[in-house]
Symmetry: D2
Subunit: 85 residues, 4 copies
């Protein structure tokens, strides 16, 4: 007859492990879905890396993104790269 | 009258953006849930970092994990650290 | 009298460990130096995050960076954000 | 005759860019050296991933590493994996 304390500890630990394993599986499944949306977009001529950057920036304050872009192009122009010319 | 081609492009791009934003939200929500399970385990005396490592190793082949542990302790012992003494 | 084989293994393993530790220290020192250059630039009004992006892009083919920027702004404009207006 | 202010800004920005580029190159070179030491160790039968973990743990307090290992094996044993049996 194993030690009741050990059984109780096993049950608690098992509980955390299973809940986290389920959430890991959920996250992995959603990440796979996301990967296939990017793959679909790519197949239709969209650039996944740029699309990801656009989606991230759309979550931010528009003025912050605009300011960041302005400073980025200012630095590049100062260094001799005028990408918007 | 805006350019129909532009509207069509907007619709397609909007579609990808919304689908990815929804999946991003799903992933973020599951990650938050996972964080709270680890926080709950921590509050009950479990070490989240070690729990995370155990859960990752439980997904692997048991023999691989055992071999890895044996080599890890062999290297440490060779270097003068016998953690299992 | 310890096992000669063990001594030899210890010597070899020690050798790798020391060489890697030295390289880790070198890398950490250069990363610290780099952090202080960014801190200096920040103190003089430059944005470290944008500076880092500019430096990364300067290492790339200028046309690729320009195309990427054009597509980025095209996507954003299509979605209703015209940052360059 | 270009704007002196612009020249001064270019010089300052150039200065930061060059210093960071040099440090990036230094870091990249040391990382390459480190990669070849791991490759050499691998060629002589050592496991790079475990070696990396050992080197990281040797930088820590020995008791902390020993406690962590003890808890790790306790959790695994509680869950039915006794790797040290």
């Amino acid at each position: 007859m194993t030690d009741p304390l050990h059984n109780q500890a096993k049950e608690v630990l098992d509980g955390y492990v299973r809940r986290i394993q389920n959430l890991n599986a959920e996250i992995a499944a959603s990440q796979e879905d996301r990967k296939s949306v990017y793959a679909e977009a790519k197949a239709n001529g969209y650039d996944p890396k740029i699309l990801k950057k656009v989606i991230a920036d759309l979550e931010r304050d528009k003025k912050d993104v605009a300011d960041e872009q302005a400073i980025y192009h200012l630095y590049l122009r100062t260094l001799g790269w005028d990408l918007l010319a």
